[in-house]
């Protein structure tokens, strides 16, 4: 039985055994450095109105090219299907390293994202390229396994060479109000990651309100997340502009209160270049341009890359080509 390290005083009383969730309902987390965190309420109408304004920024010519390059370099190129095979992952890795072989100006993506089983294949095909290997681990996407099983899953993926781990929070425990339980779990899984970066998926589509999303964001950051991530892509409601704004504001707030910098990953349903630069505008105007780097911003996507490549071709040639002019994988 793996138990999280005891750190009294950070989120109330820390239990060493985290077998049974019990509702504490008191939400008063502390940061890694021990700062008591303030959590601000979120106004739904105001948040959604602000999120909409980012989509009306007009990005043209030179800004558009910079935005496309940046978006490509921030992609976690993802395949998370039961039918994934070594062959599929090999093709994905090739695409990740050289998105458009005919145009060397197009940068590599940030990482490939696969199930733990396929991490060795991804590592083989990205070795030495600078493209990271991310693995969803810890009973993705539901998280409904014992903590011990989830930790073993993470440790195996890291041992196989994944340098980024995407885990989910226990939404059940969070909604039941057992914040200690969620906090301790994340902390234990962070330890299991060792040197690998930890991205914590909040699965915002299951949290019910922006207030809850803000709260979960603060909790995950306090518990050790290097990135907080919107969603798994496996439920009905994935990333949206208001959700991303809500989390970005939490990140900004956390940085102001603690001085600790955490990244944001948006995932699920981001398919078009236009959507991608709406997110870039959101990040630039909420967190600042220092967040516009693959170290602090990621887009989990698969079909988005090809739409970005088509936009590059349009900028270069002045014509829109079609899907036949980019490779499927």
């Amino acid at each position: 039985m793996v138990t999280p390290p005891s750190r009294p005083g950070r989120l109330g009383e820390v239990k060493t055994e985290v077998a049974t969730p019990t509702a504490s309902a008191v939400f008063a987390p502390r940061s890694r450095s021990g700062v008591a965190l303030r959590v601000t309420p979120v106004d739904e109408v105001g948040l959604e109105a602000r999120a909409k304004t980012f989509t009306t920024r007009s990005i043209k010519t030179s800004s558009k090219r910079a935005a496309i390059d940046l978006a490509v370099s921030c992609i976690d190129l993802t395949t998370l299907e039961g039918m994934d095979t070594p062959g599929k992952v090999a093709a994905l890795c090739r695409k990740a390293v050289r998105p458009d072989p005919s145009n060397p100006a197009v940068p590599s993506v940030a990482a490939v994202c696969v199930y733990p089983q396929l991490v060795p294949v991804a590592v083989t095909h990205t070795n030495g390229t600078g493209v990271h290997v991310a693995s969803v681990a810890g009973a993705f996407p539901s998280g409904q396994s014992s903590l011990a099983v989830r930790i073993a899953d993470i440790e195996q993926a890291v041992a196989d060479g994944a340098d980024e781990i995407d885990i989910v929070i226990s939404r059940g425990a969070f909604l039941a109000g057992d914040y200690n339980y969620v906090f301790n779990e994340i902390e234990a899984q962070k330890v299991a990651c060792g040197p690998a970066h930890l991205k914590v998926i909040l699965e915002t589509g299951e949290l019910g309100s922006y207030d809850q999303i803000r709260k979960a964001s603060m909790l995950a950051m306090a518990a050790g997340a290097d990135f907080i991530k919107t969603s798994t892509g496996k439920v009905a409601h994935n990333s949206s502009m208001p959700v991303a704004l809500c989390m970005a504001e939490a990140i900004r707030d956390y940085a102001e209160q603690t001085g600790e910098i955490v990244g944001l990953k948006v995932a699920g349903g981001i398919r078009t270049a236009k959507q991608a630069w709406h997110y870039l505008v959101l990040i630039a105007e909420t967190l600042g341009t220092q967040w516009l780097t693959p170290d602090l911003f990621r887009i989990g996507a698969s079909s988005l890359l090809n739409d970005l490549l088509l936009q590059v071709q349009k900028l270069d040639t002045g014509r829109y080509s079609g899907p036949n002019y980019v490779s499927v994988d």
């Binding site: 935005a67 940046l70 100006a105 030495g128």
Partner: protein, 496 residues
């Protein structure tokens, strides 16, 4: 194995490339006459004046200056139309014309938006997304009332006032025109309207629209000109009702004149709204609300949230949030779709803002303005935040009508109310707290015609707008906005 390609020059900054709205849709004539009796006519005075674009200082056109004789002509045309056509017309038929106006405004929305931005300096984002859609909504809304007035005023006999004289300001030229003209026409009145002298163009385009939809001649007459034209209209003996939106000082003169003759009057004047932020508010959205409250339309808004009252416990961090947010506010060419704050409407107004800001500095308030480059030509003022403002400072008491926010602090809700109400004005207020009971208590205590909770600057044709104290009287919009345009009396016995 190929090496990874490093992103080339991936420093994405906020220097969005220019995204200019095309002006080709707008045709501005060299010279405009007065719109009287359904036709554009030469002014009897023969006088014209130039209208300039505040963002370039270029002369756009020459506008006719209406003399007292011209105003008289317009009132006569309105009287004839009222007694012969518009007054006797059924509400259902008046509604048809109002619907036509509304639909035409929607159809020609881009033309009106671009012209409004060229003439007035406001960002195209606002004229496109706020001014023109709201103007159309106002006509739609009042078209709906035109044949249902007996439900608005049950068991009363309803008659139009007659000929209505209306004077509108330069901050929302088309929208204020809609606020004035729509309820007047819906209730059977005819109109003589004077737009502000710096922003006549959309009113004149509106006159062309009225010709296109075949509105009967004389129902709406537009007399352009400055203060002398306005006072000729106010003092005309055959005007049955006056409505004015503008400064409190001019409003007082008009009230004096109208009171002497017993002419019914509604006034929508200045404001010095308090925006009250409690420590338990949704702070990130409150920041948006405060920014929108004061920098919307360059602060040329009578209900602008020009005083921020923030609870002392969060004052410092809240002001930091505001300053951070202000760094992303883009000032510049109003025709650029990425512009948030456009040009100050006139050189005169720029002078007034500059004078009051200098007074703020002299009185010891702390000035903050973000770094941003301003265009070489045109009238511009950096978005400004004053901290360390005391209740007695001029910048906390006088209406600046520019992008200038004065920040004050409070400790308790009672103190917030006392400070908010400590002003000669009473147009609007904003409350930011997640606690509903506090919102309801505050809303009752605040002397303001409009109180927004957890939002600001929201307008709807169905929602009455107007002030207390020296912010004026009478309401515009909604059922309440119809009342000033009708005369009510008891029904004849047995008439129902």
């Amino acid at each position: 194995m190929a090496d990874a390609i490093e992103p080339a020059g991936v420093k994405f900054n906020l220097e969005y490339a220019p995204a200019l709205e095309s002006t080709s849709i707008v045709k501005i004539d060299a010279e405009y006459g007065l719109f009287i009796g359904g036709k554009f006519v030469e002014p009897k005075s023969g006088e014209t004046f130039a209208t300039v674009s505040p963002s370039t200082e270029e002369t756009l056109a020459r506008i006719s200056s209406a003399s007292a004789a011209d105003v008289d002509r317009a009132v006569k045309a309105a009287r004839k139309a009222q007694t012969e056509i518009w007054g006797p017309m059924s509400g259902r038929d008046r509604a048809k014309y109002l619907f036509r106006i509304a639909r035409q405004l929607q159809e020609r929305a881009r033309e009106f938006a671009v012209l409004e931005t060229i003439d007035g300096g406001k960002p195209i984002r606002e004229s496109r997304d706020v001014d023109v859609p709201l103007a159309a909504a106002h006509f739609f809304y009042h078209a709906g009332w035109a044949d249902k007035l007996e439900y608005a005023f049950p068991d009363r006999r309803i008659a139009p006032k007659g000929v209505v004289g209306q004077i509108i300001p330069w901050n929302f030229p088309l929208l204020m025109l809609a606020w004035k003209v729509a309820p007047a026409l819906a209730t059977g009145n005819t109109v003589v309207l004077k737009p502000a002298e710096t922003t006549s163009l959309t009113a004149l385009l509106f006159a062309q629209l009225l010709q296109d939809i075949d509105l009967p001649p004389g129902v709406v007459n537009i007399v352009t000109g400055a203060g002398a034209t306005g006072s000729a209209l106010v003092e005309h003996k055959d005007v049955d009702k006056l409505a004015f939106t503008g400064s409190t000082s001019v409003g007082k003169q008009i009230q004096r004149s109208a009171a002497a003759r017993g002419v019914p009057l509604t006034l929508e004047l200045g404001g010095k709204a308090a925006h009250i932020v409690f420590e338990d508010a949704a702070l990130d959205q409150a920041v948006e609300g405060v920014i929108n409250g004061i920098y919307f339309n360059q602060g040329h808004v009578c209900c602008a949230g020009s005083r921020l009252l923030v609870q002392e416990s969060i004052a410092e961090s809240f002001v930091d949030r505001l300053k951070n947010r202000l760094a992303t506010v883009r000032v510049g060419n109003p025709l650029d779709k990425n512009t948030d704050v456009g040009a100050i409407n006139s050189a005169e107004q720029l002078g007034r803002i500059t004078e009051l800001v200098a007074a703020g500095v002299a009185e010891g308030a702390e000035l903050y303005q973000p770094e941003c480059s301003l265009p070489d030509r045109g009238y511009w003022f950096r978005p400004t935040i004053f901290t360390n403002v005391q209740q007695s400072h001029r910048i906390a008491r006088e209406e600046i009508f520019g992008p200038v926010l004065s920040v004050l602090t409070f400790r308790t809700p009672e103190e917030a109310v006392a400070k908010a109400n400590d002003t000669q004005y009473g147009l609007s207020a904003g409350i930011w707290t997640e606690k509903g009971s506090k919102i309801l208590w505050m809303a009752n205590e605040l002397d303001a015609g409009v109180v927004w909770a957890n939002t600001f600057n929201q307008f709807d044709a169905a929602s009455p707008f107007g002030g207390y104290k020296e912010s004026g009287f009478g309401r515009e919009g909604g059922l309440q906005g119809l009342a000033p345009y009708v005369s009510l009396s008891s029904p004849k016995r047995g008439s129902r």
